[in-house]
């Protein structure tokens, strides 16, 4: 605790009559000076590192041509609106598939952790599903669903590549997320379930009020990983002809033979990920604060 007080007169004392000793004041001044020095050093070392890296890149023999090919302002300006237009497709897919994946993944995870012999076929089915769709390469899954399903000529089944692509994404990612949830459920100590049951909660209530809340909270970081990964993979629906952010960049690259649009698309995706990460960090912190009502230990 630093003393943050106006020290205008000698008689300025706290209510409890405490006057910080000269030694304490000196100590705090010294600490402040040290921390200022550390910050300054960190800044200088960062600047030097940055400058050295910059010089290495800029003095590379191929730099002028690389700059022209990857960092061309004219193509960046042309690409940005088209990339953003494509990104809207990525975002919509992320929101809809993300919600579907969370629900489906949770259902599969619960099916896998059900107890009782009567649920055996359900457990086997859920296990088979996760094994298959986690192992199947996403791009092949998309191929089969986006280009194969319409070939069946089924009445009433859509041929829209975006809807089909979204379905394929949901199939693969719910298998990933189901495993994350299952790991979370199984990581909750059995004593929690035992305690809940001893309080008279049914199996279902114990799962809903005691086990799942703890499991989900623990699983936020890996879940976010899967969501960020899903966000980037939404672009793969372009296999069916839909134009997403990356494909929009592709179109300009193919016409101009200049790679700048790819860089623009990459940066846009990164920019989309950062707020998502901060938001989940905030949610997790809030949950932790609520849980630790007595203050952090």
């Amino acid at each position: 605790m630093t003393v943050a007080k106006e020290r205008s007169g000698e008689d300025s004392t706290d209510d409890d009559g405490y006057v910080p000793s000269q030694r304490r004041i000196d100590r705090e001044a010294y600490k402040r000076a040290r921390s200022r020095r550390a910050t300054a050093l960190a800044a200088v070392s960062t600047l030097v590192t940055g400058a050295v890296l910059y010089l290495i890149v800029v003095n590379a023999p191929g730099w002028p041509r690389t700059k022209e090919t990857f960092f061309n302002g004219e193509y960046a300006r042309e690409a940005l609106p088209k990339v953003l237009e494509g990104l809207w497709l990525n975002v919509r897919l992320l929101l809809i598939c993300g919600a579907a994946v969370l629900v489906l993944g949770m259902l599969i995870a619960i099916a896998r952790t059900l107890r009782g012999p009567v649920f055996f076929p359900l457990r086997v089915l859920a296990a088979a599903y996760t094994d298959f769709f986690r192992g199947l390469p996403l791009i092949i899954n998309l191929m089969i669903v986006v280009l194969g399903v319409p070939a069946l000529r089924l009445q009433g089944v859509t041929v829209d590549p975006v809807l089909l692509g979204g379905t394929a994404l949901t199939l693969t990612y719910s298998a990933y997320v189901a495993e994350v949830f299952r790991a979370g459920i199984e990581s909750v100590h059995p004593s929690q379930r035992a305690a809940a049951r001893s309080l008279g909660l049914t199996n279902r209530q114990a799962l809903r009020f005691v086990v799942l809340p703890q499991a989900v909270r623990r699983q936020v970081p890996p879940l976010l990983n899967d969501l960020v990964s899903l966000q980037k993979d939404t672009g793969l629906v372009s296999i069916g002809g839909a134009v997403d952010a990356v494909r929009a960049a592709d179109i300009i690259v193919g016409r101009s033979l200049n790679y700048t649009p790819y860089i623009v698309a990459g940066l846009v995706f990164v920019a989309l990920t950062i707020p998502m990460t901060r938001f989940t960090d905030w949610v997790t912190a809030r949950m932790d604060r609520r849980r630790a009502q007595g203050g952090a230990l």
Partner: protein, 294 residues
Amino acid sequence: MHPAPRALRRAVAATTIALLATAVGCAPQPEEKASDTSSGSAAGACAKGKLATRTSGKLTIATDEPAYEPWFKDDKPANGKGFESAVAYAVARQLGYDKSAVVWQSVPFNKAFAPGEKTFDFDINQVSISAERKKAVDFSSGYYDVRQAVIALKGTRAAKATSVADLKGLKLGAQVGTTSLDYIDDVVKPTRDAAVYAKNDQAKSALKNGQVDAVVVDLPTAFYITAAEVTDARIVGQFENQGGTPEQFGLVLDKGSALTSCVTDAVDTLRENGTLAKLEQQWLSDAVDAPVLK
């Protein structure tokens, strides 16, 4: 925790900076190719079989995989069958490299124009010449005048189109990075966004599945698709050239390549002595019976 003695830490920091600085100074410089880089085609610059190629005495030619008909046959560029394979060998012969001195290499289209050291001497991959692309690569002169065509499944509304205006309300598809796509955007200007595919194979599937009404490809490909691959499709028609200048395929070389002028001379010679026309007759169907969409 014992902090390292200050002197030592300083020494380490100084060394690091010094090392990095040397790294900057000693970045590898590209080796100057000992070749006669005179522009124009002095007899010395294009000495038969003695060009400044990647591997001396060999001519390395690149194309994408899969290599599509009718440009290549059986996905084997080295067999000399298919129009582009035949043209590549004709150009090689013209430059003084016989069949055994030609090495084929599989290079994706997107990689063929990346800056930096190229692994091939030239790339032959149905690449249309454009002023914009010339900023990134060198082109030889054109070896084929290409026209773009529309194909659709027989009996559909798209198959009955007789003008560009008839195509406006349709869902059209094309391969990414092709001039076919530019024709959709710039000439047809459809009311619905074009579907864009990574490869022509996916565009063909989408056409069969009814996910697009029509696909735009270059005319020889259109003939091949409708004759051999999607037999219930027909060529609706071909586009007129944009801006009156014929669109041409050219061989792709590294920007500033020493071979550009020699390869261009070779292609020009083959055009003048009728070799290109003969190969066209041999490998590409006659394009006259495709109606022109006004």
